[in-house]
């Protein structure tokens, strides 16, 4: 239709303009800076040892990237982020799917439960970290899982151990996002025609059998989107990391590492931080695109 073709650029233009101003241009500038001895407020000239008179004098090639990979903290935060993402994606998805299956099973006050489960999405900021610190450090450690109560040592002092903190962070994240992802799964579940289940039950198929043979395959589109969102969220996790452990006990993740790189040296090495951000972006892009490609392929196979 001609009208759409005619109006395509005029109507898409505002969004492109905004996009170019806020994201594209700054992002390209950031890329450029990753090849320079950028110090945040000025460019450093490695030859003269002073402020560079123009940007070209500040060019350091791949030095920032090399330095990033030589930095033990960067490498360990990379590994930690990957581990965390693996755990968090599984936990959020299992929790969200379980919630979705349960709330679609009940009829009365199903809406109320959904409302409650979604509520943590509304919160952000200052108090969250403090509240969860209290939960892990006092409620879990001294009350619920103390030797006098359930006595599960794993759940005590969760924020003071690199491995346990992975789960602590994942628990917090599950609390925050499971409700949101649940809604997507509920939509997916409602979209599955009941004919399939009827046919299956006539064949004498058990609940779990139909769960794996009907529900899971039919939910593939939902998996694609939920995986995409949780993967990106987990990889970019920052606030919760800072609030809960502040990177102590070997729990520093990538986003935080980038932020803290500039504090590691004086004058601050913004060029290196930017190089890490670029590596970070490439990683996130590769991982999420691969994931989308795989799940999309699965969807088509169905």
């Amino acid at each position: 239709m001609n009208i759409y073709k005619k109006w395509f650029w005029p109507l898409v233009m505002p969004s492109l303009l905004l996009f170019a101003m806020v994201i594209l241009y700054p992002f390209i500038m950031g890329m450029v800076n990753s090849f320079l001895a950028w110090r945040g407020t000025y460019y450093f000239d490695p030859e003269t040892g002073t402020r560079a008179t123009n940007m070209a004098n500040s060019f350091v090639g791949l030095d920032n990237y090399k330095e990033a990979f030589r930095d033990k903290r960067f490498v360990s935060s990379l590994v930690y982020t990957v581990k965390y993402t693996f755990i968090a994606v599984i936990m959020v998805n299992v929790a969200a799917l379980a919630l979705a299956l349960m709330v679609t099973k009940i009829t009365r006050s199903s809406g109320l439960y959904r409302t409650i489960f979604f509520l943590p999405n509304m919160l952000g900021g200052l108090a969250l970290g403090f509240i969860w610190q209290f939960i892990f450090q006092i409620i879990f450690t001294d009350m619920l899982f103390s030797p006098d109560a359930l006595h599960i040592p794993f759940f005590r002092y969760m924020t003071q151990d690199s491995t346990k903190a992975l789960f602590a962070l994942a628990l917090l994240n599950t609390w925050q996002y499971a409700g949101y992802m649940m809604i997507i799964y509920v939509a997916g579940l409602n979209n599955i025609s009941s004919d399939y289940y009827e046919a299956a039950s006539i064949d004498g198929s058990s609940y779990w059998h139909s769960f794996f043979k009907i529900t899971i395959p039919m939910l593939m589109p939902s998996f694609t989107i939920v995986f995409f969102m949780t993967l990106a969220n987990s990889f970019k996790l920052l606030d919760q990391n800072v609030a809960l452990t502040d990177g102590e006990f070997g729990t520093r993740m990538l986003a935080m590492q980038i932020l803290r790189t500039i504090k590691d040296t004086s004058p601050p090495n913004y060029g290196k931080a930017q190089a890490q951000a670029v590596i970070f972006f490439v990683l996130v892009a590769v991982i999420t695109l691969t994931q989308v490609a795989i799940t999309k392929k699965k969807e088509l196979e169905m």
Partner: protein, 492 residues
Amino acid sequence: MKKSLVVLLVVLLALSASLFAQGTSEASKGYDIYVYNSKGENATQFAAMCAAYEAETGVKVKNFSIGSGQDHMETLRSEMNSRNKPTVFSIQGIKELAEWSQGGFALDLNTVTTGDFGKMVSAIPQSLRLTNDGKTSYGVPYNVEGYGYIVDRGILAELFGPSNVDAVTADIKSATYPEWEALVKALDAWITSAKATTVTLSGKTYTLASSKGSLTSNLNGVFAVMGAEKWTYGDHFINVALNAVFTNELDANKADAAKVQSAKGALLAYAKALDLKTSYLAGLKGKAVRGQDFVSSANFGYDQVVQIFADNKAIFFKQGNWAFGNIAGVNAEQAQRLEFLPVKMPFQNQDIKRNDGMTVAMLNSSIPVFVPNFYAVNAMASKAEQQKAFDFLYWMNNSKTGKKFITEDFAFIPYNADPKTTTVPNSLGNSIIGYIASGHIIGAPYNGSPASWSGDTVGLRVMENYLTKKTWTNDDYSAIADYAIQKWIEMK
């Protein structure tokens, strides 16, 4: 329906127009000088001072206050990147200076030789100057701050008798480390069961009370320690030991590997003193021990430990005069009775590597007093604007109104204060002035250590590996000292 939608849109457009307008009006400078202050706690009072300056001189001062900590540098950098850069900005010590001097933002004030401001700058004592080579001077000090073991004189009165408080305080100040160690152990035993035992301080014998009083009955440990705050033992506690080796920040900043290695003895003393301190801990609910609870911020974070001390559950609390407001917030009565005692460490004579006459006795009877923050003048500003900045800084530190704001409203100890005549409305501030008057002060060489070496590296190591450990051995002391030295050399 349509009409109301149109009305709504018009209103929104008008509002957005006003929001954008705000931005453009800022662009056409509505001020003569722009002062960036990174002591967010006095934001209101600072703005009032700027208003007073405008009323007196007609010079319009734009001021911006922000809290210290993680975000202050980010914001300052963002301001430095903008078209309207601050005329006067803040630099927190030699570490932050590196960037502003290299970037050409900080003006060397020693180049100003004329006028009142020139005189004021040349009169700043060498030890209080912000310099990266001993010759330059990049800032006017905000104030001086200090820290040590905070003690409640009310507790001392109950322990040693009301008439002995002054004498006992003086004798603890000059006591040796072995005497201090014995005192700590005696006090710990006394807290468990009060008995009239004797302790020796500076050679004099004192007898502890035979029973507990109204304040001392709350005690459950000797020290209140922030196990979860790594800067308290990573920055400030370790700084006392660094004073045995380095004369000042610059000395530490320029130190070569051999000099850093020579700090081994002092750092061993640090580890031993930290062991003693964290072996007699007070907690929120009874006596505490090192372990996982001790590094948890829900039990031994800043607020919790202030609470422990303000509830009279501990006798000694290593903190600075900045904690006055926090303590007063919990126990206003106690806040009036506070005093500093020196942090003591088991130094040997050979641990002292300075050649300016520093002694073990002097180190153990002094408290660190240092300048936390400096006002710098922007070298990128026009000459006329710089001159206005000089006038402002001179007025602030020398006029009657300016000085009143500094001592009364900011509750600062002025860097140029005469210790004999200055008092501040704050018991801890006055205690520092007392130390300045008697000359028992040491510096802050930890500021000259490599970026993020102290709290974020050594402090973190101590927290993760040692504060969670019940007993420390000689090997542990050694490991802590070696790690600190190794990291310093690595990070430089």
